[in-house]
Symmetry: C2
Subunit: 179 residues, 2 copies
């Protein structure tokens, strides 16, 4: 984030919450200590930008930091993990409370629908803020691709879980009839 321009920890947090949050969240408790560690390592440099009584430290990327960022982006991605409580509950429903399975699938569908809705709002905002700087280079192709993926993946998931909820419900009433 500092590669684009210098920012304070607070600005970074806000940017994360409005964009990367969907695939990589961050808390204050992570950001502030990390900025200090990065400064100690010489990858970022903090400048005091306090106004009056309000403290403020703006960090910028050093040359060494930019090199480290390039190294990082050149390496193949490693972390890829998910924590999805809905899937966990559905996974265990059979041995705990089978009758809730269909409901959980429905809740899962709603969650994905909501996520895609939020991401679409972000997309609208981005489009609005970028008037028309040439037909080609939008905010930037990579991040717009990520955003599009978020929207479409969640739409796909919402539809999938909707169908799963219907199927599970059907199976439930069917087995009740049989027993």
């Amino acid at each position: 984030m500092l590669a684009a321009r210098p920012r304070s920890g607070y600005e970074i947090k806000r940017l994360v919450d409005h964009s990367a949050r969907f695939f990589w969240a961050a808390s204050y408790g992570q950001i502030y200590p990390e900025l200090k560690r990065l400064e100690e390592a010489g990858l970022v440099a903090g400048t005091d930008a306090s106004q009056g009584g309000r403290q403020r430290t703006v960090y910028e990327l050093t040359d060494q930091g930019l090199r480290a960022a390039r190294d990082w982006i050149a390496r193949p991605p490693e972390v890829f993990e998910t924590r999805d409580e809905g899937m966990l509950k559905l996974f265990f429903a059979g041995v705990i409370e089978p009758s809730r399975a269909a409901e959980i699938a429905g809740e899962r569908a709603a969650r994905s629908a909501e996520a895609s809705r939020q991401l679409k709002a972000v997309e609208e905002m981005v489009r609005a803020e970028v008037p028309a700087e040439g037909p080609e280079y939008l905010p930037d192709t990579g991040s717009m691709t990520v955003l599009r993926y978020g929207i479409e993946a969640n739409e796909w998931a919402a539809a999938w879980w909707e169908r799963a909820a219907r199927d599970l419900e059907k199976q439930e009433t069917a087995s009740k009839g049989e027993v």
Copy 2:
């Protein structure tokens, strides 16, 4: 997991690694202390099942524990988070190394393809282990639904990123030509 049958911490870890891992991973450093906390809270009960010199503690769910599990599954899911380093890299490619964007998308596609392959192997195993106990009740509908979702979602994602990789590459060569 203990609702299905009593298990040792080691068995729980193995089960997680072979199934839930894709949407909820767990480490020894989480499992063993957690079992102790649950025992202290009266939700599980540990029995010494050492054989010869090999220590072994098997935990089973208490009545109170089963009630707690039912309460848990009745509550709407809360946690839903993702950490996807590939998307993070693509998100930042524009300001760090735009020329890598297409590559990253390709790597992301490969990762999803690999995940769906692994999950299909799990599905095969499950099918093989369950001979044919009536046309209706498979290992159990909920967990099979979760597995199916994992497979299909990753297949969808692999195809999506494949296409994105092609598009990004096309855009790159196009803009090079213009400049």
